[in-house]
């Protein structure tokens, strides 16, 4: 009986020896814990996002590299397919509309799946050809590793404008063919994540 009374006494607030938390203390600690956790979770979340961005950046880089290697192989080994774009009525230095430039036919051993760049431009800016939202490689050729990136901007210019091997008389076309490319590959999930590149590929084909 005595013991019980003592226990009861312990719980009284006026007694300074009482151990335990008051409601205020509990609330305060919960609030502090919440603040700390939100900070920690927030930074964890940012870390996860950053990591994801790094992974996606690597994907973009691989995709870009793969595509550029293909273009380079094509241009170096086979030159520019002047016949194909002449056949399709594409001017390389003026009157850019919604057109397609065929760089070559035998990339995948089939004329049905040419490598293509869809272009929009104006007469004022010959050689400044914009591509927006158009994947460089169509689905059939399976060059793209995922659907989460796009070419935000593509400018390219083929030089010379006419096939140097078929225009011997015209001195200004007697140039080694090359393609100048400027493009920006952008991630769809993280639009800030983009890789701009500018490069030129010179043909290694020295005879028709």
């Amino acid at each position: 009986m005595m013991k019980k009374n003592k226990n009861f006494k312990l719980r009284r607030k006026s007694d300074k020896k009482v151990l335990g938390f008051t409601l205020i203390e509990l609330l305060a600690s919960i609030v502090i814990f919440g603040i700390v956790m939100s900070l920690v979770l927030g930074s964890l979340w940012t870390m996860v996002k950053t990591r994801e961005q790094a992974v996606r950046f690597r994907n973009l880089q691989q995709e870009l590299h793969f595509g550029m290697v293909k273009i380079a192989d094509l241009v170096r080994a086979h030159g520019i397919d002047y016949a194909a774009h002449e056949k399709n009525g594409i001017e390389l230095s003026s009157d850019f509309g919604n057109e397609t430039l065929f760089l070559g036919h035998d990339l995948f051993g089939s004329p049905d799946h040419p490598l293509k760049l869809e272009i929009i431009g104006s007469e004022d800016t010959p050689g400044n050809i914009l591509v927006s939202g158009v994947p460089l490689f169509s689905e059939q050729v399976q060059l793209k590793t995922d659907e989460d990136s796009r070419f935000r901007d593509v400018k390219f210019r083929v030089i010379p404008e006419k096939d140097p091997f078929r225009n011997y008389a015209r001195h200004e076309f007697q140039l080694q063919p090359r393609i100048e490319i400027y493009l920006v590959l952008q991630d769809r999930l993280f639009p800030d994540l983009e890789i701009p590149i500018q490069t030129t590929i010179s043909s290694r084909k020295y005879s028709p």
Binding site: K16, S43, Q53
Partner: protein, 184 residues
């Protein structure tokens, strides 16, 4: 005064605040490092393509002159620093070199080698393109092999691309041997 009042001492508080700040600092540093690494990698990719372009333009420069029956190493002058540009930019900039190869003998679209006399003027090497940060700079120079030996048909092209990242200069370099592969 009742010494048994529960609560934290200053020491305990300091310890807990310290622990908390170490935790937060660690994760923040990690995030920052990852952001920096991604940013750096992006710039390296961009620069490496510019470096590749530098070599391709040089090759094209040689091949086009060869095609028009000019001397194969025409314009690849030793011991001078150049900025190299493709045709797009060449329309906007004046020609500054008086090399014989740029005269009326050469027709058509140019790959330009601009001689930069004052190397400390970094802006002279800047690559012009829109909206892209950071700015990239590109320099090319040539060295000719010892002409007394059997090496007069070789020119070495050295290209450097550099840029600034948080105030630090970063760069990539590449060298390529160009030969008079198609003697005639």
């Amino acid at each position: 005064m009742n010494r048994r009042v529960s609560g934290f001492t200053l020491f305990e508080t300091l310890i807990s605040v310290g622990l908390l700040s170490i935790m937060l600092f660690g994760s923040v540093t990690l995030i920052l490092q990852m952001v920096i690494a991604t940013d750096h990698n992006k710039n390296v990719v961009t620069a490496s393509y510019m470096l590749q372009e530098c070599m391709e333009l040089t090759r094209n420069f040689r091949d086009s002159r060869w095609k028009q029956n000019l001397q194969w190493d025409c314009g690849l002058v030793a011991d001078k620093k150049f900025r190299i540009d493709g045709s797009d930019i060449s329309e906007k900039l004046p020609l500054t070199t008086d090399d014989a190869c740029y005269g009326t003998s050469f027709k058509g679209d140019y790959v330009y080698l601009y001689e930069v006399e004052n190397e400390t003027d970094e802006g002279q090497f800047q690559i012009f393109w829109d909206e892209i940060e950071p700015y990239f700079y590109r320099k090319i120079h040539f060295t000719h092999e010892d002409e007394t030996q059997d090496k007069q048909d070789q020119v070495l092209a050295h290209c450097e691309v550099w840029w600034y990242e948080r105030g630090e200069r970063e760069n990539l370099e590449m060298s390529m041997g160009l030969t008079n592969w198609h003697k005639r």
